[in-house]
């Protein structure tokens, strides 16, 4: 593969071609209005154009309209907002008169929120080691959304640089109000911020907490202790002990400083805890201290405000991240372990792929023409590594269609609900 390097300055030149030839606007549009033509002009889409020009409250009559706008403006970023009660006029009306009525539940997990526990990279950087935080987060959230809330149509998207997004698109999720959304968001949030010592606190082992713990345990030793080396230096050890009440921390410090590596130190921590517990020196509300620590280091850190409200904007899938040039692609949570953010194609790479493909087929077509067969026109994205991501997206759309059909059948009484 001729991996041509992406250069941020070339983005304005690449975007028009990307939108013309590769961007799956038909599929995206289909999703955004759930096959209902009356939704299209009520769904808020916003564009950020080159030079940070921000256009909010755009809406489109239909798929062609949407495609045309993309081809005309080639936005650097497309954000998706709510479906509103009334039609949105595309030019500058006031937001106060608009009532959002439907919207996917969204989650945004950003690597920077892990900066106080990850040690391999900081800020915008991301490597296979810290990507594990995303793996854990995705597995835990996906599990809870499906099992606890019964949601089925969930789209996971790589944000293009260092985070992941999640869209829950079931009808019953879309119609939840702000209060219900915030209940879900808070249910899924276990880390508290601010001036508190214990950032995670359990009084009982809730079934969802137990399930999350299983996921964390799969990764804890290798990814958190070894790779992140969270106890490897005195500084990190101090940070760790800072999560424990002053009354106990010296006891743990003694045991933990006797050994060197993170794994050994963690073991010393667990052993000390168990001994104290046997001696009945651990008050009842500290009995989950070991679990609390694991959660502090590995439990998903959500930007809760994104989830809480009906009309928060979130970047659409298949946008290009301007800094990295990478496409914001969907992925399947089942395979997130094998998802390598480094392998996600950049826009320049994709355009190269088309060219290579075309060059190759031209040669073949010549052959074919000599054998007098007609050539078939192939969609451009199918010529590139974008294909597999579009396929994932289309699968998600099919799932939605199936759910909608089932809901209709239940409504019409042709299917018994059980």
């Amino acid at each position: 593969m001729s991996a041509s390097l992406y250069n941020e300055d070339s983005l304005p030149d690449l975007l028009p071609i990307y939108y013309k030839r590769l961007f799956p606007h038909t599929a995206l549009h289909k999703w955004l209005c759930y096959g209902d033509p009356n939704v299209s002009n009520r769904r808020e889409i916003s564009f950020t154009l080159v030079g940070d020009i921000y256009l909010r409250y755009q809406s489109f009559e239909n798929a062609e309209d949407f495609a045309q706008a993309l081809h005309k403006r080639f936005p650097v970023k497309i954000d998706i907002g709510a479906i509103y009660k009334q039609r949105l006029e595309s030019s500058g009306s006031y937001s106060s008169s608009k009532t959002p009525v439907e919207r996917e539940i969204v989650f945004d997990i950003d690597m920077t929120d892990y900066d106080d526990v990850r040690t391999c990279c900081t800020g915008a950087g991301v490597c296979p080691k810290c990507w594990k935080f995303m793996v854990i987060a995705c597995k835990i959230l996906d599990g809870a959304l499906r099992e606890d809330f019964g949601f089925e149509n969930i789209l996971w998207v790589f944000s293009g640089r260092r985070g992941i997004h999640c869209w829950v698109a079931d009808k019953k999720a879309r119609i939840l109000d702000d209060n219900q959304r915030s209940a879900i968001a808070e249910y899924l949030t276990l880390l508290r911020g601010g001036l508190v010592v214990r950032k995670v606190k359990f009084f009982n082992m809730h079934a969802a907490t137990e399930r999350a713990l299983k996921v964390i345990d799969e990764y804890f030793e290798k990814s958190i202790l070894v790779e992140q080396d969270i106890l490897g230096t005195y500084e990190r050890l101090d940070a760790f002990l800072g999560n424990i009440d002053e009354g106990f921390s010296p006891l743990f410090r003694d045991a933990m400083t006797k050994v060197q590596t993170s794994v050994e130190r963690w073991k010393a921590f667990v052993n000390t805890f168990q001994t104290l517990q046997r001696e009945q020196k651990i008050p009842k509300h500290y009995r989950y201290m070991v679990e609390e620590m694991k959660f502090y280091y590995a439990y998903p850190r959500l930007d809760i405000n994104v989830t809480k409200s009906l009309n928060h904007l979130l970047k659409a899938p298949f946008c290009i991240h301007p800094k990295s040039g990478k496409v914001s692609v969907p992925f399947k949570p089942k395979f997130i372990e094998h998802f390598d953010p480094d392998a996600v194609p950049t826009v320049s790479q994709l355009l190269d792929e088309i060219n290579t493909y075309d060059a190759k087929t031209k040669a073949q077509e010549k052959d074919l023409a000599e054998n007098s067969q007609t050539s078939v026109k192939i969609k451009d994205y199918k010529k590139t590594s974008l294909l597999k991501y579009v396929t994932i997206f289309c699968e998600f759309l099919r799932g939605l269609q199936a759910s909608a059909a089932r809901n209709r059948a239940i409504k019409n009484g042709t299917v018994m609900e059980y």
Partner: protein, 467 residues
């Protein structure tokens, strides 16, 4: 009551239905507007009684009783008895009795609820206040019900909640036991399966087991669902009334209802109207000695960071105004601090209006009153903000450390810590006062300005004695 007559095209003179059918239960969803006729005098009387009831409920928590605790309930019951509102005490009993007194109590409850809808539908703020109080009142009566009483209620109001089968319960035993907060006896608890959207408050804190979008709640939490239904219905009704209020107001009831909320304000702390002004040069010393922890903290933050966000400026600014900081002094005070971090121009542009506004010199020219403890305690404090109540918004260990720094003994600090852990923030504040002043307060703290005044009084008393 006459005020619904416009809904009916023909007004028939119907004989009143028997009370047992009109008011069958102590707990009501208030779904049908009453059709009885009452005298204007009675109308006023029962309306005022209900206002007193709601005020008493409102004040129970600031007196140091954790919301919905037994102590809180007892306090309300005692206060109602003291105020002579026996009928409401009766409704708290959970008996749904059938004596004439019971029916009269329910009738008064029913009618007065509807009268207050008319008084409280008038603004967003009033609606919110009324809704919260009514929800609490609903909760008090519902939770007093026996199993039988709850069953009757569910039947009367056509709620279709039924407990899950023994089989399902047993098969989910591990999950239910692990996930249900405060569960004591699994065997004796009935569980109800309800859409999670009906019990958001339980979902939020992982207090119940969830599966496929349903929450499994113990019968003791059924009140949460019913209460949220009640909230939804009442809130919709209030909006409905607010759009039609002009149809209800007439010269007899209009004047009474339009200013209703201020008729009976109970024993709330009132900021004194005119007192001596304070010298801005004294503020540092005052902060040390006479400010409650919340304001002391704000003062220290302002001095060290030279900034406060909007809520902080408002909370602290109004407090200062009420202790007697004059407008000119306030302006200078804020300016001197803020301009350590920004230029004068920026300050003039961004903040002066704000301060004028606080002093009622611009805008609506309203005279804003300083925030009470309840308001401060219930406000939310975001990152970079400092306006909350330390007892409520800080980690308890931090509170402990802080009060020790302020001169409280370790034992005292532990006592305060315990109160905080039990959710008695204002009592904790009172204890803090006690330990830093060597004198207990009769009634606890319900306003930062009250704290200040009490503290000043002690000092004045002390210097007065010396003379």
């Amino acid at each position: 009551m006459d005020f619904t007559s416009y809904r009916r095209t023909v007004r028939k003179a119907i004989a009143e239905e028997p009370l047992s059918e009109l008011y069958p239960h102590d707990v009501s969803m208030y779904r049908e507007s009453p059709k009885s006729e009452i005298s204007i005098l009675e109308f006023e009387q029962i309306a005022l009684d209900r206002l007193k009831l709601l005020r008493i409920i409102e004040q129970a928590a600031p007196k140091g009783n954790r919301l919905y605790s037994d102590q809180w309930k007892t306090c309300i019951k005692d206060d109602l008895a003291k105020a002579g509102l026996k009928k409401y005490v009766r409704l708290m009993g959970g008996t749904s009795g059938t004596s004439d007194l019971d029916y009269q109590a329910r009738k008064a409850d029913y009618l007065s609820h509807f009268i207050l809808r008319l008084a409280y539908c008038r603004s967003e703020q009033l609606r919110r206040w009324f809704l919260s109080r009514e929800l609490e009142w609903f909760w008090i009566r519902f939770t007093a019900q026996s199993r039988e009483g709850v069953k009757n209620f569910l039947r009367l109001y056509k709620f279709s909640y039924t407990p899950i089968s023994e089989e399902e319960k047993v098969s989910l035993r591990h999950e239910l036991e692990a996930s249900t907060a405060g569960l004591i006896l699994f065997e004796e608890t009935e569980f109800f399966k309800v859409p999670f959207t009906e019990v958001c408050s339980l979902v939020r804190g992982r207090k119940v087991f969830l599966k496929a979008g349903f929450a499994y709640i113990p019968s003791s939490e059924l009140v949460v669902c019913i209460q949220s239904k009640f909230r939804a219905e009442l809130s919709e009704e209030l909006t409905w009334y607010s759009h039609r209020i002009h149809l209800f107001d007439d010269e007899r009831i209009g004047p009474l209802l339009s200013n209703f909320h201020n008729l009976h304000t109970g024993q709330n702390y009132r900021v004194r109207e005119n007192h001596e002004s304070v010298d801005p040069a004294d503020l540092d010393a005052y902060a040390k000695k006479h400010f409650p922890l919340c304001m002391k903290h704000m003062h220290e933050v302002l001095r060290s960071e030279h900034h406060h966000k909007h809520q902080g400026r408002l909370t602290y600014g109004l407090f200062l105004k009420a202790i007697g900081l004059l407008y000119e002094d306030a302006l200078k005070f804020w300016r001197d601090e803020f301009t350590k971090k920004m230029d004068l121009n920026q300050f003039e542009k961004g903040y002066v209006y704000n301060i004028k506004h606080m002093y009622g010199l611009v805008g609506k020219r309203a005279s804003y009153s300083p925030y009470s403890c309840v308001k401060i305690i219930t406000s939310s404090v975001g990152p970079g903000e400092h306006h909350g109540c330390p007892f409520k918004h800080w980690d308890v260990n931090l509170v402990k450390q802080k009060v020790i720094e302020c001169g409280v003994s370790v034992d005292g600090a532990n006592e305060i810590k315990q109160l905080v852990s039990d959710g008695h923030y204002q009592l904790a504040c009172g204890k803090y006062f006690e330990y830093t002043h060597g004198k207990a307060l009769g009634n606890g703290i319900n306003h930062p300005n009250q704290y200040f005044e009490e503290s000043m009084n002690i000092e004045k008393g002390a210097s007065g004695n010396k003379k």
